[in-house]
């Protein structure tokens, strides 16, 4: 198979890519080719693309460093159209697909010729950590201007400017055993657990399961390790009790073994989800997993060494070099120098050599390395320079040479002459850091282990870590740990385990590693060339040293002062090195300096995936009454009340013009006052209360008295909390001696039912009473106005005579042929019947009312008109006239307070506290604007002296204010300090437009003060 010419670094053989197919993609507008099986990163490397980005602070050229989630540099913008843009995609985790379009996130005018880089070069030394705390302070007024330019320079990719065409969803998963990571440890654990019959989920973040075994030079049972992987995956896939989730990252470990898995279902196919069977696929799925047991097999991240110029493109992790060669068939250079502190790093040199490229030298920090891989390197004739390290990489856009010298780790100095080795690639290995992120999400502190030079996870109950995640690296041991963990987890869930025979792994001899983090340079750290610790955030060893000099001694301070670990890689590469450097500067040990805390997410998660289906039309339920269709067809505007959609008003077309709200409401109000209106009141909460102690219970939760309410009667009730503040109100009817129907406010329905249960279950279990919600069972239609009786009489068999069916009575009978309970209560002050029928009949009854109502001028009205009409009568709305700081007495509703009830009902005691009996409390009053044309603003503040300087003493505010069509004037309800004693006084309302309105304090009842109309 001939190679595409551009793929200069592509090897002819090897790797898990399909060379028979070619994929075309663009990067920064340039067209390239790759193969199925490539990541974007491997394809870029194959094409010899050295610079993938510019660093954000110093604008230095940056290349690919790693091959996985720890990659700090190769952060790209993806997307071939505006809506498909994805910011900050890690090229090492993005599978290549045909047509992929990516670009660098920084660099101006482009990454190759970047002008900001010049600024970084010149200005770099003026930007130590925290420099912005020390500058840009003068003049104070300029900060927003300075900041504008700081903001422009920051940020990585960009947000799309169009709405997302894709959809996302959630799976609520439950399992006995969740295995995170399907490398050697994970597969072994999963196999053991699966054979026990336990419900197992295996999640792995990569395109293929198998982890490091997919590119390992080690064998299992004498065969390439990936053969074992394939066999195990076959078996797992055939188990009904096992769910395999590739391309799925465990991003958050939460309390009680709740784990979020982010499954990327289509991102390897295209930038928007493809359509299948006429349905656009789900782009990503979040699995919300509740696991009995969790096994973390998340492996380990290799630590780079920190040396001067370690950010120049061509510096890679040793393990990444191996991965690119063995898994992707790419040797990302020609001449390699390896700098290592341990045996594992040697594999990169061996792989490099075997791929046919030149290994210039292995530079080993140890004086006398020995082990099988060291021997293999020697046998291959590779030059090994011991007791030394690469102290500096030369080159600007690509490595040109490595400066190598003897070093004294203990004394932190270069101890021998420097030699310069020409090369284009430097691989480094400082050992491994177990991936402990998930385990620390719930606050478990990791533990430092000197023997492995790394932190291992601190674990809570129900979680195990094994393999690399547990600091165990020898393949045979890893497999054994995995099986053991799988058996233990399954057993904990009550599943007995079948035998699992482990494949035989090679036993390799390895020499001990040396703890090397920052490599000394000839110059002191503050004076030498930059040694990068956190590549994404441009944090250097000098920066950390400076921070410690300035008194930032805790690792959390150092992180925050330097921004180390705050990038999108969350310091996966740099944090341990940074801690080690801080420890060196402070003369402490690494565990003394402390660990940083990892937080979810392990890798970034698309907002959309977290949102799932809870967006657009499904963001929040819309609750409808049984009459919703009618309202829609009638052209109603709706008001959101809690989750309910309630008709707000019904604009009509008059002379071809649609009424404004003001016009519609005026018409609706007059219809009620003069003829008859109808309101869909179905949303009111309704609670069925039964039991011999129901009446006693009502007496305790309502402020007023209930002992004498007779069957067939209704009563208004007010509810307080035990702090004496009004919380709900409504009418409760006595259906039978032991049976009541309570109504609540629309918004309060659920809370009040829970409130009643709370008191019954916790304080008064001895009371025999039950509560059930019947809100949705009944549809409630309120017909109100002088013609209401005539209208109802036409379609009801109930005796509506004013003397037999009195105000505050209820009766049952038929309305429009449907069994109905009719309540003669009024929220408008007019003659009113509230018709309740089973909701399935509501539409029939409503339409029948209209059939008969036309001649009476039956007019549907919405919540706005309802509010005007009730305000004309001085009826309160809980939540509008009250705000949690208002007592029944403040409302002037002493008539609704049973001061002498035997039981100290909820709220009573609080009414006599020193503040609640204070005289000057804000009290509900009516306000009549001096100019009747003025409609005061709701929320307008009330003052007594409008000429007072700011701050002006305020004595209250307008709670409700409307134009009253029947009075042809504005009117308002308000709370005013000591208002009940101020009737007739004038108050002032200074407004934003400079006007000050005058109003007189009046009674809250503006219309029909004697209340005659509701009794007719």
């Amino acid at each position: 198979m001939s190679q595409s010419k551009q793929q200069v670094y592509r090897l002819n053989t090897g790797g898990r890519i399909d060379r028979s197919r070619t994929l075309s993609f663009t990067f920064n507008g340039q067209r390239y080719q790759g193969h199925p099986g490539d990541t974007l990163a491997s394809a870029l490397l194959a094409n010899g693309v050295d610079i993938v980005n510019r660093s954000f602070k110093y604008s230095r050229p940056r290349g690919i460093v790693a091959a996985g989630a720890e990659e700090p540099n190769a952060i790209v913008q993806l997307g071939s159209s505006e809506a498909a843009q994805v910011p900050n995609v890690r090229a090492t985790q993005q599978a290549l697909y045909d047509g992929l379009a990516a670009s660098s996130t920084n660099g101006w005018p482009n990454v190759q010729r970047d002008l900001m880089g010049l600024f970084g070069k010149l200005g770099g030394q003026f930007m130590p950590p925290g420099f912005y705390y020390k500058t840009f302070m003068a003049p104070a007024s300029m900060w927003l201007t300075y900041e504008k330019y700081i903001r422009k320079a920051a940020g990585l990719g960009r947000s799309p400017m169009e709405a997302d065409p894709d959809s996302y969803d959630h799976f609520n998963q439950h399992c006995d055993v969740l295995v995170v990571g399907a490398g050697a440890a994970g597969l072994a654990a999963a196999l053991a657990a699966a054979r026990s019959g336990a419900r197992v989920i295996v999640a792995d973040e990569q395109e293929e399961m198998g982890g490091s075994l997919l590119a390992s030079r080690e064998t299992l049972e004498g065969k390439p390790a990936d053969q074992w992987v394939a066999r195990v995956l076959d078996e797992l896939a055939s188990c009904e009790n096992v769910t395999l989730l590739p391309r799925t990252t465990a991003n958050g470990y939460h309390d009680h073994n709740f784990v979020t898995l982010h499954e990327r279902r289509t991102e390897h196919l295209s930038d928007t989800a493809p359509v299948e069977n006429g349905h656009r696929q789900v782009r990503a799925r979040l699995h919300r997993v509740r696991a009995g047991q969790v096994i973390l097999c998340t492996g380990a991240h290799e630590r780079p060494l920190v040396y001067a110029g370690n950010d120049v493109p061509g510096n890679l992790l040793a393990g990444a070099v191996s991965t690119y060669i063995r898994r992707y068939g790419v040797a990302p250079g020609r001449k390699l120098v390896l700098s290592t502190s341990n045996d594992y790093g040697y594999r990169a040199a061996l792989d490099w050599k075997e791929s046919g490229c030149e290994v210039v030298a292995i530079v080993d920090a140890r004086e006398a390395p020995k082990g099988d891989w060291v021997d293999a390197a020697r046998a291959q004739g590779i030059k090994i320079i011991t007791g030394s390290a690469v102290i500096e990489a030369k080159g600007s856009n690509r490595v040109t040479a490595a400066r190598v010298a003897k070093i004294d780790i203990e004394a932190f100095k270069v101890s021998g002459p420097v030699q310069e080795l020409a090369c284009d690639t430097i691989a480094s290995s400082g050992g491994y850091s177990p991936v402990i992120h998930l385990a620390s999400h719930t606050g478990a502190r990791p533990n430092w282990r000197d023997d492995i030079i790394g932190f291992v996870p601190g674990l809570v109950k129900g979680v195990q870590a094994c393999g690399g995640a547990n600091g165990c690296y020898a393949l045979g041991d890893v497999l054994a740990e995995g099986v053991e963990a799988g058996i233990k987890a399954a057993a904990a869930m009550g599943h007995a385990v079948q035998t699992v025979t482990l494949p035989s792994a090679e036993r390799l001899q390895q020499g001990p590693a040396v703890a090397l983090f920052q490599v000394p340079h000839e110059k002191p750290t503050l004076r030498g060339p930059k040694q990068f610790v956190d590549l994404q955030n441009d944090v250097t060893a000098a920066g950390i040293e400076l921070a410690t000099r300035e008194g930032f001694e805790s690792i959390e301070h150092i992180k925050r002062y330097t921004a180390m670990g705050f990038g999108t890689d969350q310091g996966k590469l740099g944090n341990i090195n940074g801690m080690a450097i801080a420890a060196r500067c402070l003369g402490r040990s690494i565990p003394e300096v402390g660990t940083t805390v990892f937080r979810p997410n392990y890798t970034p998660v698309t907002f959309g995936a977290i949102v799932g289906r809870h967006c657009r039309d499904l963001f929040d339920p819309e609750r409808y009454t049984a009459l919703h269709q009618w309202h829609v067809e009638r052209g109603a505007e709706f008001e959101d009340v809690g989750q309910w959609k309630r008709p707000w008003y019904y604009p009509e077309k008059v002379n071809g013009k649609t009424e404004t709200m003001h016009e519609a409401v005026a018409r609706e109000c007059l219809a009620v006052r003069e003829k008859v209106g109808i309101l869909d009141a179905s949303t009111l909460g309704k609670i069925d209360i039964q039991g011999p102690d129901a009446r006693e219970f009502l007496g305790r939760v309502y402020t007023n008295k209930w002992e004498k309410l007779a069957v067939g009667k209704c009563r208004y009730g007010l509810m307080c909390k035990d702090d004496g503040m009004v919380t709900d109100d409504g009418v409760t009817s006595c259906l039978a001696e032991n049976h009541f129907l309570m109504t609540t406010t629309t918004g309060g329905a659920a809370a009040i039912l829970e409130w009643l249960e709370l008191w019954h279950q916790t304080e008064w279990p001895e009371l025999d009473v039950y509560f059930s919600s019947v809100t949705d069972h009944w549809a409630t239609m309120t017909i109100t106005g002088p013609e209401a009786r005539k209208l109802l009489a036409e379609i009801s068999d109930i005796d509506l005579d004013r003397d037999s069916f009195k105000f505050m009575d209820w009766r049952s009978g038929k309305v429009a042929g449907v069994p109905a309970r009719v309540f003669r209560i009024s929220f408008t002050g007019e003659l009113t019947f509230e018709i309740n029928v089973q909701a399935n009949y509501a539409m029939h009854v409503w339409q029948t009312l209209f059939k008969h109502g036309e001649k009476y001028g039956l007019t549907p009205y919405g919540t706005e008109t309802m509010h005007v009409l009730r305000a004309e009568k001085g009826f309160i709305i809980v939540g509008q006239e009250t705000d949690g700081s208002v007592t029944p007495e403040d409302l002037g509703m002493q008539w609704c307070v049973g001061y002498d009830k035997p039981y100290s009902w909820i709220g009573k005691r609080a009414l006599t506290r020193s503040d609640t009996k204070r005289e000057n409390r804000k009290q509900l009053v009516g306000l009549r604007p001096k100019d009747p044309k003025v409609i005061l603003e709701e929320g307008a503040q009330i003052v007594l002296d409008p000429k007072h300087a700011i701050p002006m003493p305020m004595v209250g505010h307008v709670t409700s204010s409307y134009y009253s069509p029947i009075l042809d004037s504005g009117f308002a309800l308000a709370v005013v300090k000591g208002g009940h004693q101020k009737l007739g006084e004038t108050v002032y309302l200074p407004m934003a437009d400079g006007q000050t309105h005058e109003a007189e304090i009046v009674s809250t009842i503006f219309y029909d003060p004697k209340g005659e109309r509701q009794h007719v």
Binding site: H256, F258, K461, G462, E754, P765, R913
Partner: protein, 113 residues
């Protein structure tokens, strides 16, 4: 996210089915009128709010609608026990510190074990 054993349903359920309702075992004074303002304020507002073992009330709101009590550690979030309304906890801060000395390990209700 918690996994809470509802003592009435006899099962562990997801936290989303429950609502926390504050400190458990707060009793309304039997004779409110005999309380001073201070006593009444204490009942209404003042709470233990411990850092450690805490007894709190929850309601299985999307479920059996029953209120019940939970003994939970407010730092580790480990649920030590759940018990019905009207019952007393078997694990308290005192018993926990004694148990720790005796190296006893309590059962965690939050994780099926």
């Amino acid at each position: 996210m918690f996994y809470i054993y509802c003592p009435y349903c006899g099962e562990h359920r997801e936290e989303e089915e429950f609502h926390p309702k504050g400190q458990a075992h707060i009793e309304r004074p039997k004779e409110p009128e005999a309380c001073s303002d201070e006593e009444w304020g204490d009942y209404l507002f003042f709470r233990d709010n411990p850092r450690g073992v805490h007894h709190e009330m929850w309601v299985h709101a999307v479920g059996c609608r029953k209120f019940f009590n939970v003994t939970r550690h407010t730092v580790s979030y480990e649920i030590l026990e759940t018990y019905k309304m009207g019952e007393q906890p078997s694990i308290t801060a005192d018993s926990q510190s004694q148990a720790r000395e005796g190296a006893a390990v309590s059962q965690q209700e939050g994780v099926r074990a």
